[in-house]
């Protein structure tokens, strides 16, 4: 136990002392994001992405910000601009880190933004793609809570559409929630989802 604490302290200490430009930059970007300075956060991520050719996270976050901002848009031209930019940065992230489940489910989220905008135009081609993307992510990372949650939510959407029981997917959400509790992540790694899982599980309990 004592050894463990020492180890943690050591690692912690090391990470503080060796705080690089990259870490400072990322922290600043997250701080801006947290303060709702979304454009500035996105632009800083973009600058870091252009400077750090070995890191997939900055490009991933540029894409994430654009995807999240495109839900609810009414103008297709603007939607297309944002999602095209997101796609460009996702491709960059993919080229740095191949078969990364976080990038794969972000790709599915990007597709969902198109489907949400016009289901008739984009649903036919993209919903099949999404099903395949979640399947692929699950095979790569069966214990990644975001993957488990994302797939469960996607499956629930279609089950609900067909008036089928979502119970089996509620179990997946519960499992995701457990996985969230024990998850240990590297710094700056995407860690969203636990709250969302709790919300969905609450709805599950109500039905």
């Amino acid at each position: 136990m004592k050894n463990l604490i020492t180890l943690i302290l050591l690692v912690f200490g090391a990470s503080i002392s060796a705080q690089t430009n990259y870490e400072k930059g990322m922290e600043k970007a997250f701080k801006l994001w947290g303060e709702n300075n979304i454009i500035e956060a996105s632009q800083l991520f973009e600058r870091i992405a252009k400077a750090e050719k070995e890191e997939w996270l900055p490009a991933y976050y540029v894409a994430t910000i654009e995807i999240l901002a495109s839900f609810g848009l009414k103008d297709e031209a603007v939607l297309n601009l944002k999602l095209k930019k997101a796609q460009e940065f996702l491709e960059e992230a993919k080229s740095i880190s191949t078969n990364n489940p976080e990038i794969i489910i972000n790709q599915a989220l990007l597709n969902t933004a198109y489907i949400a905008f016009d289901g008739q135009k984009y649903g036919m081609t993209l919903s099949g793609k999404n099903a395949a993307l979640y399947q692929q992510a699950l095979e790569l990372a069966p214990n990644n809570p975001r993957v488990v949650l994302g797939k469960a939510e996607w499956d629930m959407g279609s089950a609900r559409f067909f008036g089928q029981s979502t119970e089996v997917y509620c179990k997946d959400v519960a499992r995701a929630l457990e996985l969230f509790k024990t998850e240990e992540l590297p710094k700056f790694y995407p860690n969203y989802g636990a709250k969302r899982a709790e919300e969905i599980l609450k709805q599950c309990g109500e039905n």
Binding site: N21, G25, I39, E40, Q43, L44, E46, R47, I48, K50, A51, K74, D75, E76, A77, N80, L81, K82, K85, D118, Q120, K121, Y122, M124, T125, S127, G128, K129, A131, A132, Y134, Q135, D155, S158, F161, F162, G163, Q164
Partner: protein, 719 residues
């Protein structure tokens, strides 16, 4: 105290070593209006900022020496300039609009695009399978767009006063030589291809790109899917037959195969029509696609299909008391291969090969006709993107057709007819964007026909101007050549190519799932083929002295926004056309061209029932026919054509769909024209017979089941 002083001195010196430089300036657009929120930074560093509401930026850096300053903003071209860091002061950065965006002007006079990538989508891929009157046929769906004339008994596309042979079909840029399943007279044909193969379609009703030739009126280009999403097996059970398909994916490869068998015998037994069927329609078809995508920059597609069709029947005919006996067996093999690659530096290359072998054994009463056609198409296309504002597209192609016919009269002679038609074509075309609002496309195409010993040159040009946020105007001009049809070339080859010249003006409004467009056109026909006999034979005299014109207005409105769960469109076409061709004694409006055509298509999704219901209403004003009792030529007009079709798709579960459709649900008795007896009766009157559909209505019920790993995919896109 002393030590603190020393320490601070030390710090000061460090600060002075890493001396900060200020970079500042202003970002504006080409009109001088400040751009807020542009990302301004030194490339390769984190140093940068966003421009403020006045377009101003200001940041510090410790970088020294020669660096690149980058200014980027969404919907503008990224600006970069390289210089000594100290010189980046009081800069004025003028950003150029990115013309490659969704809200930029589109050069589209004359054409309708369908597909995810299209900037303006008049028709979506799903529409082919959910439009009530289309019955899953690509061509059926396009017949609900303006510019087409309803000719229900034919099934092909008649565009702006042109007959069906004036439209050419391309798959992945390669010509399809026999796109339609052959049928008997008066029985509508269908395309040979399953609609779910395609992800994008462009239907051009005039003024199209110099890339396409040998079409006087229209081209329809279909693009197949690049990569399937997942492995699956599909089963189709229909009132007219069965089908099955399977898709496999491994690594960078994928393979899809599907086969279907259609037999109308049970249907004809249950719902007999006006024909006496000896052998009801029977068709077997299979398609395979292999795709190989080694990387993001290149793609190989190999497509092949096989079709076998047989039918035999006796049709009523006023000049044949016992009815006209017609039999047909057709085999069609088609191969289409294409490879494309991005070469870098703005270059990309495309190569395609098409090959078709088509054989028909036809019985006409007691005569027998055997046709064999071998055709091939080779094409190479190069694209060079100099910038977003200037792109060049050029290529060359070669067509070969070898046609051979044996005609055996029951009592009499054997004829052997045939020809070889080789044609060389080359084209070059430039896309020029002057701004986000003004763009033009200019090109030229040359062709050399070995058979006709003729060289032709056709200029093409179009220009588009975006007049407002949602509106634009466009103009197009082009000249088009097409060799005469096989049925004439087999008797005579001393022709010139037929010629058409198009002038088009278009206005378009697009906003939030609403499209309105109106297009006026004038089309001039020259050098049309004429002959002097009732039927074409080896003794017929041909000339190229025919001519004609077509002018009109096409209107289209589509709305998927204003009424929840309802998507509908309305098409109207006004057509004024006359031509003097074939054996016409004078200029007249041909039988296939009705003056007014209109379609109304609606689709309504009922969420509680998990059902989409659809309705199509088609209207066409009367068609011309010649009444020998009245004197004159094409002097009479039939009554108007009306048809209402309904369909419904019920999603039983994610993977099971039940589909139902009825064409002409009201049972309207439509008339396409009249046949007159060759000889008058004793009282001098020629008796007549109406040309009517063989059945007034058509029913279809199908069950579609998909089996895939994730149990999600269905064949809604397949109906």
């Amino acid at each position: 105290m002393k030590s603190i002083f020393l320490l601070s001195l030390l710090f000061l010196s460090i600060f002075s070593f890493s001396q900060k430089r200020v970079i500042y300036g202003k970002v504006i657009d080409n009109k001088g209006i400040p751009i807020e929120g542009a990302n301004v930074y030194l490339e390769g560093t984190y140093d940068g900022t966003s421009s403020d509401i006045e377009g101003k930026f200001n940041f510090t850096t410790s970088e020294v020496g020669v660096k690149t300053l980058v200014v980027s903003f969404i919907s503008f071209e990224t600006h970069s300039q390289t210089a000594e860091v100290t010189s980046f002061q009081n800069l004025i950065v003028k950003l150029r609009e990115d013309v490659n965006t969704l809200d930029a002007v589109v050069i589209n006079a004359g054409s309708f695009e369908a597909g995810d990538n299209a900037k303006v989508t008049a028709l979506k891929p799903l529409d082919v399978v959910t439009t009530a009157s289309a019955l899953g046929d690509v061509f059926g769906a396009f017949q609900t767009l303006p510019g087409t004339s309803t000719n229900e008994e034919d099934g092909r596309l008649f565009v702006r006063g042109g007959d069906a042979d004036e439209t050419q079909i391309f798959i992945d840029g390669v010509r399809v030589f026999n796109p339609f399943i052959p049928t008997a007279k008066n029985i509508p044909t269908r395309g040979r291809f399953s609609p779910f193969l395609f992800k994008g379609m462009t239907f051009s009703t005039g003024g199209y790109s110099a890339e396409y030739g040998q079409a006087l009126s229209s081209v329809l280009t279909l693009n197949t899917i690049d990569q399937p999403d997942q492995e699956k097996t599909e089963v189709q059970l229909m009132t007219v037959g069965v089908g099955a398909g399977n898709t496999q994916i491994w690594g960078k490869n994928s393979f899809s195969i599907n086969a279907s068998y259609v037999n109308l015998a049970p249907y004809q037994w249950a719902f007999p029509d006006k024909n006496e069927w000896i052998k009801p329609y029977e068709g077997t078809s299979g398609e395979m696609v292999y795709r190989y995508k080694p990387n993001d920059d290149s793609l190989l597609k190999l497509y092949s299909s096989f079709n076998y069709t047989a039918l035999e029947l006796i049709q009523e005919d006023i000049n044949t008391p016992n009815g006209f006996h017609f039999g047909l067996q057709n085999r069609n093999l088609y191969f289409n291969g294409s490879y494309k690659e991005r070469l870098g530096n703005g270059w990309s290359i495309f190569g395609g090969i098409g090959y078709a072998n088509d054989t028909s054994d036809i019985n006409l009463e007691d005569d027998e006709v055997d046709d064999t056609e071998n055709s091939a198409h080779f094409k190479i296309r190069l694209n060079k993107r100099f910038s977003n504002r200037f792109k060049l597209n050029f290529g060359t192609e070669y067509f070969m057709t070898d046609f051979d016919e044996d005609f055996r009269e029951s009592l009499g002679e054997d004829f052997n007819l045939g020809f070889t038609n080789n044609l060389f074509g080359a084209y070059a075309e430039a896309d020029i964007f002057f701004s986000k609002k003004l763009a033009t496309k200019v090109g030229v195409r040359v062709e050399n026909s070995a058979l006709l010993n003729q060289f032709t040159m056709s200029p093409r040009a179009s220009v588009a101007y975006k007049s407002g946020k949602n509106t634009q105007f466009s103009l197009a001009y082009g000249s088009f050549f097409q060799n005469p049809k096989n049925e004439y070339l087999k008797f005579n080859t001393s022709f010139k190519a037929e010629k058409a010249t198009h002038f088009i003006a278009n206005y378009q409004f697009v906003k939030d799932r609403q499209i309105f467009r109106v297009e006026g056109y004038y089309k001039k026909y020259d050098d049309l083929l004429k002959y002097d006999s009732q039927f074409v034979a080896s003794t017929t005299n041909f000339t190229n002295n025919g001519n004609g014109y077509a002018k009109g207005v096409d209107v289209f409105w589509r709305d998927g926004k204003n009424i929840k769960n309802l998507d509908y469109w309305v098409s109207y076409s006004f057509l004024d056309t006359q031509r003097d061709y074939k054996n016409y004694p004078t200029q007249a409006r041909p039988n296939f061209a009705s003056k007014h055509n209109a379609s109304l298509v609606g689709k309504y999704w009922i969420n509680d029932w998990k059902t989409q219901i659809g309705m199509t209403y088609n209207f066409a004003s009367g068609r011309t026919y010649t009444n020998p009792n009245a004197g004159g030529f094409l002097n009479q007009q039939t009554k108007n054509y009306n048809s209402v079709s309904l369909n419904a798709a019920y999603l039983i579960s994610q993977q099971k769909i039940l589909y139902f459709s009825v064409n002409n649900v009201l049972g309207t008795k439509n008339v396409y024209g009249y046949n007159y007896k060759n000889q008058p009766e004793a009282n001098g009157i020629y008796n007549h017979q109406a040309i009517v559909p063989s059945a007034d209505q058509f029913f279809f019920v199908g069950f579609f089941w998909t089996i895939s790993d994730d149990k999600k995919n269905n064949q809604l896109n397949n109906l």
